[in-house]
């Protein structure tokens, strides 16, 4: 009993560093939530500020205009997240097809080229976009030269198809990176399965359809469910750099909205309140997805 106890303590010490890490980086920041309940305004420290209870939570929805704005922000968030969810098979199919390329150097080349954009920051991506798409940029210059248009098209300034355009940029930047996971899964497929299928007379399409895809489907599902739980957080960098007065109505997602509120002119308390709500909803989403996963696959992922 005593030795067992000692072992217990020792094993606890093994895990202690990780517990500490989690506490510091995951739980300690939650302390910041108290800002949502104060009229916080720098430079006065929190102790000198007024405790206001749920005022900021009410503030979000206390008239039609604000409700409409918040709703629009949610619609944008859901639309953009939904779009990437809808096309979440894209990296998987990309990986599958990439795997079918027989010429090794070419395969490596494609993979490298598609992975690289992941390491470019969004700010640089926007600079590139501005150079290509401004009124005197490459695209407009070429179109004018060819006589297709007489007046430059303001690509960055229109809010048309902005959700789709954002998805395109995201895919351009992320597809290669996201495919890595699937490529790893594909490498893990038992060669014998494929050989057996070939012996049975399956062609390439059939091997893909009956072996490759079913084998990586579990990976896909786990990633999909995790993404669903993250439905409300589609990051802000991308939308921050691409936002302007003309497309803001449709590009402002929840994270960006919080940023614009807080960093614009110090609405820290209000944006913390929105952040709190977001976290709570995300937890609910995660649990729901877990439950669905249990129902459909027979196992949860948390």
């Amino acid at each position: 009993m005593n030795r067992k106890k000692l072992r217990g303590y020792r094993e606890f010490l093994y895990v202690l560093p990780f517990i500490i890490l989690v506490l510091i980086f995951a739980y300690y920041p939650l302390y910041g939530w108290v800002y949502a309940f104060y009229d916080y305004k720098p430079p006065a420290p929190l102790s000198k500020d007024l405790f206001v209870g749920f005022k900021w939570f009410h503030y979000m929805i206390d008239n039609d205009i604000k409700r409409k704005q918040l709703l629009q922000v949610l619609v944008n968030t859901f639309a953009i997240s939904g779009l990437s969810m809808l096309f979440s098979w894209f990296p998987m199919m990309f990986a599958v097809f990439l795997n079918e390329i027989k010429c090794k150097p070419y395969k490596k080349f494609v993979q490298t080229v598609t992975t690289l954009p992941n390491f470019i920051s969004w700010v640089l991506v926007y600079s590139i976009a501005f150079c290509i798409f401004n009124s005197t940029g490459v695209v407009n210059s070429l179109l004018t030269q060819w006589g297709v248009i007489s007046k430059p098209i303001m690509f960055l300034q229109s809010s048309k198809h902005i959700w789709f355009k954002m998805w395109l940029w995201l895919t351009w930047k992320n597809a290669g990176w996201a495919a890595i996971m699937y490529i790893a899964a594909i490498t893990g497929i038992d060669e014998e399965l494929i050989d057996a299928a070939k012996v049975d007379g399956a062609n390439r399409w059939k091997t893909i359809w009956h072996i490759t895809i079913p084998s990586i489907l579990p990976t896909y599902l786990v990633l999909l469910f995790l993404n669903m739980a993250n439905f409300l957080s589609n990051g802000m960098e991308q939308f921050f750099v691409f936002q302007n007065s003309f497309n803001k109505d449709y590009i402002q997602v929840l994270d960006l909205y919080v940023y614009n509120l807080a960093m614009g002119n110090g609405g820290y308390s209000l944006s913390t309140a929105i952040g709190v709500l977001k976290s709570l909803i995300s937890i609910v989403l995660l649990c729901t997805m877990n439950a669905i996963s249990k129902l459909t696959r027979g196992e949860g992922f948390i």
Partner: protein, 592 residues
Amino acid sequence: MKFKKIVSLFAATALLVGTLAGCGGTAPADTGSSDAGTTAQTTDSGSSDAGSDTTAAASSSGAMEIEVYDAAANFQGLQTGWFDKVIKDRFNIDLNIIAPQVAGDAIYQTRTSSGNLGDIVLLDSVDFADCVKAGLIKDITADLPNYPNLNAYAEQISTYNAGLEGNNGEIYGIPTQMMNTSPTSYSQDVVYSSPLLRWDYYTELGMPDIKDLDGLVDVLAQMQEAHPTNDAGDPCYAVSLWPDWDGNDNMLGIANVVQLTTWYGEKIKDSAILKADGKTFTPITDKNATYYKMLHFLNTLYRRGLVDPDSGTQDWNAACAKMSAGQVNLFWYSWQTGFWNSQDRLNDGTAMIFIPVDDQTYYADADAYYGSGRVFGVGSGVDDEKYKTIMEFLDWYASPEGLEFQHAGIKDFTYTVGDDGKYTAINDNALMDNLPVPEEYGGAGYSDGNNQINEWIVNAASINPNTGETYQKDYWASWKAATLTQMKKDWAAKFGAAEPAEWMKKNGKLVISPNVPVALASDTADISVIRNQCNETLCDYSWKMIFVDDDATFDAMWDEMTETLDGMGFQDLYKFDCEKWQPQIDAKNAVK
């Protein structure tokens, strides 16, 4: 067993939290526990910062590093180049500039909550008052009289500090850009905002009289028709706007539009517009006021194809490049001429100059006798040695020698001294073309090494006791003689005055608003959220309205905007702002 495990887990957690609290000097939680605690902690972190900084700096140059929290700077990092050399020779200090305009306003929140904003602090007066209240600014009452150059402005300094809430005669802040003329005089030749056009294009059109904004639009349209591209073949436009300054300088709305309102004598004070009579306010959403009028003016320009289509998406650098390349036919900030008017261009008549529009009267702030609104202070966390160095530096910064470096540049590089002791400007393109400075100043580019603090204790239009002329070259007799080009002579002959401001005064077209030292109320948490949301809404709608194709859509959007603004709480904001600015208006009218 299980229970014990949980207990030990809790024990570990408690231990951890204790450790955290013990070392958490920078955590916001610990900073404000009590006043005494804050001050003690501030001093601690301040000196330890200073210690580490000094050691870091010592390894490279042995200089003391001074952190400057600088609301005016467009540059972040260590001051380099010739200005660094100048101050290092005198004080052996390095200036480490922290610029919210570069790093984002969030840095203000993080630094204030850590209790140490900077060693030298330069803030807008409202923020400054907040920081004094929060104990972030050092009381310099006792030491100010020891510094003659600063003490020369004792009246202005004490007037400013007396306006701080709950102040009993202590001195915390030193206002910027002070002058020694009077609060109602106007010493400059040009006003901050007025229509500026290319003189050669204007004469080409036969120097037409411009009656009103429509006339201006016509003139600009004719100019663009005659000169669709610049010499390099890039397209020209009447205006090229940029969105990154929106909502600055105590004004809601597009930064480019809010300045235009001064063409009709009206001045935007946050969400309110001060009418030309200098007494009444009207909301910025008033359709009969100038914000609407000037926005409509830009929209008219757009409909005539005169607005740079990239206006809404480009940043200041892109807009600036277009100005320097001669792609923009209408300037409206007086400083914009700095990106185009060179001595050569003044000589061959292609420079930009003020052309009056008949129905306009121009608003101008009088000489900044009591300062321009920003304030210098010393951080409360500095130690004695550093404090002494900072005060010596600030005193030098306000001294004739320091001001010559700030406003006139380097002797024998940007100006020469004549036998009569008067100065003559040379290399006047030094800033524009980033000319290399003499070896003794390090040899790097002049613009790169320019003073990055970007704010001055004494105004450039003040009189330099060494010469009896202003610090800035534009008013030197030698400069006036050199710039009396054919273009200037033609301009004077046409309008019957030597300088734009003189013409305005002569014709009663100048509304001078006296300079008064009034401390303004700072936003409550509610108002600050409303202000931010209203500003964003106003700017977004305004940008869209510049790019619409007909009046009906324009008005429909304006109405929609007004409705949205009201939903955001605009009426509360307007009420707050009227009350906020009323004391200043009262003081101004009392001076008149």
